[in-house]
Structures are given as C-alpha cells and as structure tokens.
Symmetry: C2
Subunit: 337 residues, 2 copies
C-alpha cells in the first residue's frame, strides 16, 4: 500500500490489464446463445466485462462486497447541507443496526455490507480555508479503503455516507474540470435556495483557494476531498490491483475516483457506473469520466444504494450468459441472411 | 370474459380504481423512513404504486407471473424479418426446455413463467391484404390471455415471442397515432436494409388498407394485430379487473396494450413500462402512452426479458419500503429547515 504520493503515482502508472483471453472465450459462448446477436444489450456487455476482469470464461457473483465509507467535513460549517453533521454518525449507527436503505438493498441483492467510519469526530478542514487534509491523513484514509477489499471478492461496490460530501464532490469536479461552479452543485439531501447559493460559493472559493495545485489531480483529492472519498479511491485501486470489477455508486463515489482517472487515463476500465442520480452534476461528471450509467431512477441517497440496486442487473447478465442454450443445442434456426 | 366487442367496450368503460387508502398509508410510512424525502426516486414511486394496486399498506411480491404469448403472422411472407417463421415454434420449445433467456431471467428474478402459444400452425392473415383476424379469432385470443392471469398474483409481467411481430406492432402504432411509417419501424431481430424497406412499406400499406377503421382502436387491434398481442391485452385487462399491477415488457407488449389505452384513457394506470428497448419506435410509443420506462439497457429480445430484468427493481423498492427504520426508531436527526 502506498505510503507516499510517489508510491501512489507508481501504482497508478502500472495498473494491471483485463484478461483478454477470458473475455474472448466468454464472447464466443455469448455469440452462440439462442437470441439475435446483441439483443440483450448491456446485459451482454456486463457479462463480458465481468469475464475480462475476473479472468473467468463463465464469471460469477458469489461474493459481492458493498463497501460504505463515512466521513465528516469542515465545510459543513458554511451551511451547505440540509442535515446537521451529527447525522453522519447517527446513520453509521443505523447501518450497524440494519435500519438503513443499504441494509435492505444489500440483503435483496445478495451483497455483504461493510461500513467503515473514518474519524467522524475529527472532520476534515474547511477546504475554503486551506487543504482539507495533510498528506499523511489523505494517504492513511486511502490505505484504509484499500484494506477493505478482499482478494476473493467477485465484485466490489463502492458507496458512502457523509453530511456535506456533495459539496466536496462538486469542489473536486470543479477543480478537475473547470466550468461554472453552479454546474457541479445540486440540492444533495435537500438544501434550500440559500443553502444552494452558499454551496456554489464554497465550491468556487475552494477552486480559487487551491489555484496552485489545479494541475495535480491527487493534490486536488487531498486539498478539496475528504477521508471517505480517499478511502473509496483506495478501494477502487485495491480492486484494480486484484483485477476485481467495481460498481461505482453515486455522485460522491464518482467524484472520489475522478482524480485517479485524470492521473491515469485507463484507471476506470474495471469500473462501471451503477446509476446516474438526481444530483445534476452527476451526469456531467460521468460524461467527463467516460462512464455510461446502468440505471437512471432519480435516486439521490448515496450509501451505495444505487450500486446495490444495480447488482441484480449483473446477476441477470450472468444468468443469461451462463444458462442459455445455444442455437445448435436448442434446434433453433439461425438468421437467414 | 367478453364474447363480443360490445362486452369488451363495456369492461373498458368500467375499470376498477386503485386503493387510495392503502397508498396513503404506504406513503405515510415512506415519509418516516431514514432518508431524505424522495431520495430513493422511482423506488419510492414503485412501492406506492404496488401498494395502491395490491390494496396493501405493505405490498409484496410473493407470486410474480411472467406470461409469454406466442403467435405467427401472415405478414412475414413479405420478407420483413431476419429469422424464418418456424423460429417461433422452435423458441416455444426452447422455453419449454428451459434454454431461453427468459427462463434464466425468471429464475433469477423469482418469477413463474407461463408460455402460451396461439395457433402457431395457423398464422394470422397478412394485414396488408385484409384483416389479420376475424372478430371471433381476436376475441378468442383475448380471452385466452385473460385466462392466464391468476387471482392471487402480486404482479403480472407481459411478454411475447412471434417472428414478424415488430412489424405488426409498428402497423398498430402507425394506425393509432399516424406519423411516418418509418418512425415506427426498426431492425427487430436484425433485418437488413432491404428488409427494413419492406417493413416500412408493409406498415404504410397496412394503414392504407384499413383506412375505414382508423378511428376504432379495437378494430385496429383486430385488423392489424396478432393473436399474441390480443392475448397480452387480455392479460392486462384481466389483471386490471383483479387490481393486479402489471409490468409491460417491450415494444410489442406496449403496442398490444396501446389500443386499449386509446379506447379507455386510464387503462394503463395499473401498468409500468419495464424498459425502453433499442427498437426506435418503442420510446416514441411509450411517450404516446404516457409511460416512463424503468430501464434503458439497449435490449431488444422480447420474451418478457426486459420485464424480468426490471423485477428486482420492484423487489428493491419493497425491501426498502418494508424494511427501513424510521427517523424516530433509529435516533437520526431530521432536516434542519
């Protein structure tokens, strides 16, 4: 695990590739199944993507990890959220007690939920005033995220909880990609018009405050990010190093991974965006990241809820890829042209 | 079950309403759960819709019927499909043997598959030459579809198999809604450019041939439709009469129900479109029908495959609605404004 930015850069510059042979074998099977070529749309793409990253001709989803990271943010003091900061720790307790949306969704989708809270009693610094984290704090959170990924996982899903973290995400996106600060913000958990204006202001000031590091994506992650975002990026990195496919939840999870994508253009090859949320900046960010979301259900909860909702689509992909008969086996006539 | 068009009109003019009380109770529960209001997007809408039609404060999906109707079409003789007509009966055998996509998807989604083939050795007449069906044939197929719905079903999903039936669907849509015949056609199972041109021609000729009945939607269903489409409409009608919610599969299933929607404007209230397919006319048709699809995965298989893929979204909706803690129970602070 990287203990310096140099080591982190080194890892990002030597990422493992998918298994092209497993993908080719899976595709050969796919082409024989009793359906017109491509008629299952993205379900076929998903099966081949899972085959490529799992390195299995017939991929599986026996062990699905749902990793939820929680953090608190100094910028909340600027009145950018509809909920008070103590809700982060209260919701972590709700996860532990099984009462949150993600608990129910993981049970329904057959995923193992792991929640890691990152120093909730010690919010990051307000990024409008200075760096959110020092180097060691950032790298420590990243390493904690990496450590959550289990080598035998067939899929890792990445989500979060953190009052104020859609503001943090907008600040990262604005720093990485520019544009108008307003394009990257939304109502998050339901902030009112005045709060929305404060959010836009914080995002714009954040970029201005950290003008000196705008060309350095990992510094953007440290100075404008948060611990749960660093941990999410770490989890995605550890999954890549173990060639485990990743399902990214919402806006915050995407923003957490964006700096790595800017730093290493093929970083996201093992990732799929589970959904596009109601948060307006999310669709914009996914386009910048070259990701096409599986679902568009107007969700905006976080917690990994969108990723958990998308897991059954992957199961459907594998059920068809693994279980269907071929044209020859079924005695079905093929296309006439 | 209606034995005449008059009886059918009578049923369509006296459709039962949802249970508003069950919906209100379900909504009151939904508003207390530990998430920002509306943060689960369409999952919340789905839970309330299921509550309203099932008449249950806490809806369930214990018994999910997947009804797949198969038919053959005289218009296939005009070279409108990439596959020969015998594929319909071959695919019905594939369903029976468990080798098709829908078998795997139903198993993954916990749905009971019932396949009904409708006189596959006796295709409907070519609608470019005259009516596809006589009154009795149409009503017989409709009644067979009605008979497949079981009173204790919690959800009915409606799909089909029938070489040539995207041409039939385009002909119905063009007759009901007008526009350019080309807007309503697509490549179906993968027809080439020449076949696509023949398809557009057949659809345009179909509308012209039946100019006398264009104002009568049920006559359009009879003259330009097919037995499996009549059966799908019958199944949706029987579900409505029993207040069972319905998930509509693809373009053909939507086209099958469109005449009832034109005949009775609130007919589709108990229906949700599972997905929008790659067939270009499908999105257009859903907008005409006022339906918003749950999924957009580029699927174009039919068989009920899109509906089966969407079932887990409904299960996710019920898992959260039924299983989450309230703010009070979990000790989570509510919104500050």
């Amino acid at each position: 695990m990287p203990r310096t930015f140099e080591e982190l850069h080194h890892l990002l510059n030597a990422l493992p590739s998918p298994n092209h042979e497993a993908r080719a074998t899976a595709k050969a099977r796919n082409d024989l199944l009793t359906k017109p070529q491509g008629a299952l749309g993205k379900l076929e793409d998903l099966a081949l993507w899972l085959a490529a990253w799992q390195g299995r001709d017939v991929p599986r989803l026996d062990k699905v990890q749902m990793l939820v990271f929680a953090g608190n943010h100094g910028v909340v003091a600027r009145g950018v959220s509809a909920f008070p900061a103590e809700v982060t720790v209260q919701m972590v307790a709700n996860f532990a007690n099984g009462g949150a949306a993600i608990n129910q969704l993981c049970r329904a989708a057959g995923a193992e939920l792991k929640v890691l809270d990152l120093d909730l009693d010690r919010p990051t610094a307000d990024f409008t005033q200075g760096p959110a984290m020092e180097d060691e704090d950032y790298l420590d959170a990243l390493n904690k995220g990496m450590a959550q990924v289990e080598e035998d996982a067939d899929l890792v899903c990445i989500g979060e909880m953190g009052i104020g973290n859609t503001t943090v995400s907008a600040a990262i996106a604005h720093a990485l990609y520019g544009g108008d600060a307003k394009e990257w913000i939304g109502r998050g958990t339901g902030v009112d018009d005045a709060g929305l204006a404060r959010k836009a202001e914080a995002v714009a000031v954040g970029r201005a405050t950290h003008g000196a590091i705008l060309g350095q994506p990992l510094q953007i992650a440290r100075c404008l990010g948060g611990r749960e975002l660093a941990a999410m990026a770490g989890a995605a990195l550890a999954a890549r190093l173990a060639r485990i496919p990743v399902l990214i939840d919402g806006y915050v999870a995407a923003a957490a991974l964006a700096p790595f994508h800017v730093a290493a253009r093929d970083f996201l090859k093992h990732c799929w965006a589970a959904h596009v949320s109601a948060e307006p900046g999310h669709g914009l960010l996914l386009r910048r990241m070259g990701l096409s979301p599986l679902l568009d259900l107007g969700m905006r909860l976080g917690e990994g809820s969108g990723a958990a909702t998308a897991i059954p689509l992957l199961r459907a992909a594998l059920a068809t890829h693994g279980g269907m008969a071929s044209f020859a086996d079924a005695g079905v006539a093929e296309k006439t042209d």
